[in-house]
């Protein structure tokens, strides 16, 4: 069996295992879950240690799939999967813009820090700290700053730009670290060699440091893609932007008691979004294959 077929087989088996686990527990578990320490007569007391299994809490997998083909919100509205696709596409586009901003900013920061040790000492701690700021608090600030900026400059600051900026805020971090480490990766002998050719910083960067950094860059770019998607979804929710997958998820989750299978549509959409984002970076790695000679193919 070829590597490719076995990879596909394992992927299918993984999904099947999750489905079986879900349906298995649903069939065997108690409908109201297991609650310990509940006071009789007092609603919501005690600690739920095993989830409820009735259809409102855990819809059947086939219901979730069937719901994808039913109208989004009744009547003659388009099927759910079409709405999910549109929302996921919008979020993916915004995440991609955030990814590009993050890669550029992270790349420049990483290169500067690698070139001047003093900058590394000065900047790196701040870059690390920047990632500890909770996004949920930070997103509205970015949005209102953008609005202020727009009002002052006499133009309208679109909400999606705020979302992209927040996505880039998460995306730039792995890139900055990856570039910093990657550009410092060349062997001493190669640096000596380029110096013996009287190559300047630019020539050394282009012909030696960047190619040598590729094995560090690809995982960084993949992380950045995943971060950009997470950042975009969370930012959409927290600044209340319409049309994206985050907002859709929130909206349908609010109606879950009446339509329990519906929120699973955008959930699948968000998963697909992450896969597409990571897959795009994998394609990039395929294009840069020759810079990864000697590296195990992943």
């Amino acid at each position: 069996m070829s590597r490719r077929t076995s990879a596909i087989l394992w992927g299918v088996l993984g999904v099947l295992a999750v489905v079986l686990l879900w349906e298995g527990y649903k069939a065997l578990g108690p409908a109201e879950g297991v609650v310990i320490g509940a006071v009789p007569g007092e609603a919501g007391s005690g600690v739920l240690i095993l989830p409820r299994t009735h259809d409102r809490a855990m819809p059947h997998v086939w219901d979730m799939v069937a719901r994808l083909f039913a109208p989004t919100s009744g009547g003659s509205t388009p099927p759910l999967w079409v709405s999910v696709l549109g929302a996921a596409g919008l979020t993916l586009g915004i995440a991609a813009v955030g990814w590009v901003i993050g890669v550029v900013v992270g790349g420049v920061l990483g290169a500067l820090m690698q070139r001047w040790r003093l900058l590394e000492w000065g900047l790196l701690p701040w870059i690390v700290v920047s990632q500890t700021v909770p996004l949920i608090a930070f997103a509205p600030i970015v949005n209102s700053m953008g609005l202020q900026l727009g009002r002052g400059g006499g133009f309208e600051w679109p909400q999606w730009v705020s979302v992209a900026v927040i996505a880039s805020y998460l995306a730039f971090f792995p890139v900055a670290i990856g570039v910093l480490r990657g550009l410092a990766a060349p062997d001493r002998i190669h640096l000596d060699l380029l110096r013996s050719y009287a190559a300047g910083y630019g020539a050394t960067l282009w012909r030696l440091r960047l190619p040598a950094a590729v094995p560090y860059l690809l995982p960084a770019l993949r992380l950045a893609a995943a971060n950009a998607v997470v950042g975009a979804v969370v930012a959409e929710v927290s600044i209340g932007m319409r049309g994206g997958i985050g907002r859709m998820l929130l909206q349908l989750a609010g109606q879950a008691s009446a339509d329990p299978a519906a929120p699973w549509g955008p959930t699948f959409g968000a998963i697909a979004l992450g896969l597409v984002a990571a897959g795009s970076v994998a394609l990039l790695g395929l294009g840069l294959r020759r810079y990864r000679r000697g590296e195990a193919t992943a």
Binding site: I189, L193, R195, Y197, A203, R207, Y291, G294
Partner: protein, 286 residues
């Protein structure tokens, strides 16, 4: 990285971009009173002191000595990869710094140091590319060099598909790319097996003769030094310095027959005695 301002003339020539003409009568290398010390935690460490050396154009000179004698340090100073703390180094009459900017020397190290993502041909072409040689001229020179080191069928391969000996041949071809009149080699065959080593020694002797380049060759093998060199410079550690220079005039015939000739053995003995500082006592002799 060491300072770029060790010599005054470097900056001016770099600005105009015109290589300064080498003095044809000047020696390939002249070192006067060259010293190098490092500041370590325990104070000053003298790696090299009072080096006086002259290498004529086309001459093959080996630097030999135990580890720590500063032979590699001296080579790095000649290549302007490090700056000397004292003394002066000139290459064809130019300061070492200027010689590096003008690509007056080619260099090879113990590791081949090929870029793994470049094909053999692209690796050989790297110094030419960096000096703005145009594509057609580059391709022609690469073909010529691949022929010289016997790797014509391998120009499109990548380094990881080559044996250690073949990689080192690529490194030698690369060091010759810009037609330097001085070759600097730091134990280039040190990591190879004995058979490959002897083969490449013969190849290098042939290549050096064909190109007419002067060679400064660092090694810790006495037979290797004698086989290849016109002169063997013997060095000694703590502090690193030149203790003796042994002339090994074996003429132009550097082939396997030479390895078994009596004069070759005589020179090997002379270098060994110079290294140990005393005449070697042979069993069965008074």
């Amino acid at each position: 990285m060491s300072t770029e301002s060790t010599t005054g003339s470097g900056a001016t020539t770099r600005a105009t971009g015109v290589p300064s003409a080498a003095d044809p009568a000047a020696p390939a290398l002249r070192a006067t009173g060259v010293g190098k010390s490092f500041t370590a935690r325990k104070g000053e460490v003298v790696a090299l002191t009072g080096v006086e050396l002259e290498v004529a154009p086309g001459e093959f000179v080996s630097l030999i000595g135990p580890s720590g004698c500063g032979k590699s340090t001296l080579l790095r100073l000649i290549a302007d990869l490090d700056a000397p703390t004292s003394g002066e180094l000139t290459i064809f009459g130019k300061p070492a710094h200027q010689a590096r900017l003008d690509q007056d020397y080619g260099i090879a190290f113990q590791q081949a140091g090929l870029l793994p993502w470049r094909s053999v041909g692209a690796n050989i072409a790297l110094p030419l590319e960096l000096h703005g040689v145009e594509r057609a001229a580059r391709a022609a020179r690469v073909a010529e060099l691949a022929e010289l080191v016997g790797l014509t069928e391998f120009v499109d391969r990548h380094p990881d598909e080559l044996s250690g000996g073949m990689q080192q041949r690529v490194a030698i071809a690369r060091s010759l790319a810009a037609k330097p009149r001085l070759l600097l080699m730091d134990e280039p065959f040190g990591a190879l097996d004995e058979m490959t080593r002897e083969y490449l020694q013969s190849e290098l002797a042939r290549i050096a003769a064909e190109t007419g380049a002067a060679v400064v060759f660092v090694t810790h093998s006495i037979p290797e030094a004698v086989f290849l060199s016109d002169r063997v410079v013997v060095m000694s550690p703590r502090p690193g310095r030149i203790t003796d220079v042994v002339a090994t005039p074996l003429g132009a015939r550097r082939d396997d027959g030479l390895r078994e000739s009596p004069e070759y053995y005589a020179h090997v003995t002379a270098v060994r005695e110079a290294l140990h500082g005393t005449p070697t006592h042979r069993p069965g002799e008074p």
